[in-house]
Subunit: 461 residues, 2 copies
């Protein structure tokens, strides 16, 4: 490392560091017109702008401070970040199950890139073993990076490749699959995989982390260990999301791919099963079933891969005073499917009726879901619902809007026939609709903790 | 009542009733190719179609059974429904506070319309007193029906009239205001009223019911009693939503108008404060504060009414693989404002960047919110967020997407100046953005029950 290195800094940002005689790895307090910031100056990539100084805060977040706003920088020391993970040979044990970890770009373990200051995912079995040695107690791990995209950039190209690779791995005899994925759209990918990969004989477990492993409160290791455990040893042969549990730091929940949603932008316990209870709890000691209606692991290698996908589908998220031009524009742009997220039991306002009628007359397939997220579409209760059904809108029971969206993409990828699409949409494949929503599936999952349920029932204010 | 009356039935539906010698008020079991239904045949309006027989089920729901699918009807008796509410003179007591109930079309108490079979809101003070006599213990009640629309049809016309009438009532000296409203979009109306009615000296309490009072488990009376109590006696001079509490049948919660959302399509405890805790609990014995940072009741009559509203604003609810044509269509249709509900910390995919840039270049005002509902937009954390801000998208902290939508309508109704709009949007007026979200404001509100919080902390699995 170079003394007072300015790696990546130039222009106004470079000048300001020079003025105050600080450089990368300086532990500083920056005074600026935007506020006061304490942290470690990180290196920047050569292609970064010259207008910001990037600090790693104590919270683990990186922020960019506008150089022109800086009035003073005080150095309190220097500490080079050490995020390089010791790479070790992942031990092989023929008695242990074989798990394949497919990477899509989400961060699980990570290390700091010294050149750019970026946090780089650690991904080889050796790196993962060096970082999370517990993995070798569970399985033989093989890793494969399919691509590296932020999860908001996931789309059909990635879904299809992922489904096909999962199919190949299953046929090749793997005992379980883990998919590393960014958390933003993990639930969308989980849902489409439940339709594209049908009847898998082994667990397919998606995992990510809300806080990367360079942060003190990272959930990366616990999530990964539990996901690998569920894939290697679990009996639940479904597409699952394995993420941090809500009431304690000590376990993860396994959520069904079609009934899970990201519900907090930053908390670690962000994923919640909606309108149902999760399938199981998992911690390093074992997997505890919360229900017994799941598809069991099998010895055969039979799996059906169907990667159909029509891209011209959209979600119409209703709000009061929505104007018909929004619907008309969707139709005029050639969209073939619309999932409405309506209010209440599945409602939209009367001024939209004409545009909706025009859409269904033109052959657009329209399904109704509820933006309350919890509960069912029930369009027979009010006149509004009955009128909207008469326009050709089909109620989609308790399918989450995002799940109805990916399922409609998948259905329209297979057929344009109205009745066939309707049959596909309304026939449950992977619990995307359920006969009932249990009472304890609303808002918080308390079912994992019978004592809390008991307690809530018992107290009187 | 006519023996075996067929009121409202004709054509195929009339024939089928005739064939099986049943009529309105017959208690029947209908066998049909769509299933088997038990209930009471209700009268229909003269303008209703001739293709359905309408049954009131034991659950209280009305359903229409397609006449052509009916194979058999068996009558088990007849029972005329009695929903007529005894109308009594509402007692006046000069020592009690004066409350005005403004009706918008939501059902609070209700009675059956004998002619049409429809459930008609009971609304006059006399009807309400006959139905819910407890109201007279609390206040002198005056009622005024502003209009009768389903809440999904609420829009600026109704918001403006409502805000103006509230202003007039306040200036006329009323001690509190209750607004009856359908539940579907109650939270949208509550939010816009917090911007249109600023600094009110008295409580403005919105109320509705999830189950109308002709159903056994109706929440209509408890919600109304508690809302009137909060308006008459409460010290919280804000726009509030008063609805059924989540853990017991015995109280309602008072939610801030900007931090509340309908979260279940059918449960009575559907309204939840998001990313915060409610303001208070209320039951017939009193109002129990859950926080003390609210605006207090005052004796003055100073209130600012600002009914600005720009209609060309939309919500863009992001989903993976969203295409730029959706954004282009919004811009080409002359929309002036877009609220994005992004994934994670406030993200959209790269293929949209060009269309977003084009939109902001054309002067469209774009604000980012999170579709996780809980948590903050944080666009400085990832490169994606920083890039999206460079396109001109403004992060809206922890404003709910629906709240950001009505606030942007309101802001753009006042000015088109970029900086002024931004100033209005980012300056909190009614807690639409807050400095922090308390831990117990996530998913379930446990804060009302300290014992549960304690218990959750104490248990180890």
């Amino acid at each position: 490392m170079v003394e007072k290195s300015m790696t990546g800094y130039r222009g106004i940002a470079g000048s300001i560091l020079d003025t105050f005689r600080v450089g990368i790895w300086s532990d500083v307090v920056i005074e600026s017109s935007k506020g006061r910031f304490s942290g470690l100056i990180l290196p920047r990539s050569e292609t970064a702008d010259d207008k910001h100084v990037v600090l790693k805060l104590a919270s683990g977040y990186n922020i960019g401070v506008a150089a022109e706003a800086i009035t003073k920088i005080t150095e309190h020391g220097r500490r080079e970040a050490h995020y390089k993970i010791p790479e070790k040979q992942f031990p092989v044990d023929d008695r242990k199950p074989n798990v394949t970890l497919l990477g899509t770009g989400g961060t699980i373990a990570s290390r700091l890139d010294y050149r750019t200051g970026a946090v780089i995912p650690a991904f080889s079995p050796g790196e993962l073993y060096g970082s999370v040695p517990e993995l070798a107690d569970i399985c033989n791990l093989r890793t494969e990076k399919l691509y590296g995209v932020f999860s908001e950039n996931m789309g059909p190209e990635q879904y299809i490749r992922l489904a096909e690779r999962v199919g190949e791995e299953i046929r090749a005899g793997v005992d379980g699959i883990v998919i590393g994925h960014g958390t933003d759209t993990m639930h969308h990918t989980a849902a489409i995989l439940t339709f594209m990969i049908q009847n898998p004989p082994v667990p397919i477990v998606m995992v990510g982390s809300q806080r990367s492993s360079d942060r003190p409160s990272s959930d990366a290791a616990i999530n990964l260990i539990n996901a690998v455990k569920a894939a290697a040893e679990g009996d639940i042969a479904e597409v699952l999301v394995c993420m941090f549990g809500p009431t304690s730091d000590e376990y993860c929940l396994l959520h069904r791919g079609t009934r899970v949603r990201k519900m907090h932008s930053s908390y670690r316990s962000t994923f919640r099963t909606i309108g149902d209870i999760p399938v199981a709890m998992v911690d390093p000691d074992g997997i505890r079933d919360l229900r017994d209606d799941y598809r069991r692991r099998r010895d055969d290698r039979d799996v059906t891969i169907n990667t159909a996908f029509e891209e011209k589908v959209t979600i119409l998220y209703y709000y009061p005073n929505m104007q018909p031009d929004i619907v008309d524009a969707i139709v005029d742009n050639g969209y073939r499917g619309i999932v409405i997220a309506g209010t209440g039991l599945g409602h939209i306002n009367k001024p939209l009726y004409g545009a909706i009628k025009r859409a269904t007359d033109k052959g657009v397939h329209i399904y109704m879901t509820v933006q309350t997220l919890w509960g069912y579409v029930q369009m027979y209760v009010y006149e509004t619902g009955r009128e909207i059904m008469e326009l050709g809108v089909v109620p989609a029971a308790n399918m989450l809007p995002e799940v109805a969206y990916v399922k409609l993409c998948w259905a329209l990828g297979q057929t344009g026939d109205r009745d066939e699409v309707r049959h596909i949409m309304l026939t449950p494949i992977s619990d995307e609709t359920t006969d009932r929503e249990p009472y304890n599936g609303y808002l918080i999952f308390q079912g994992a903790i019978p004592e809390v349920q008991e307690f809530l029932r018992s107290i009187k204010r």
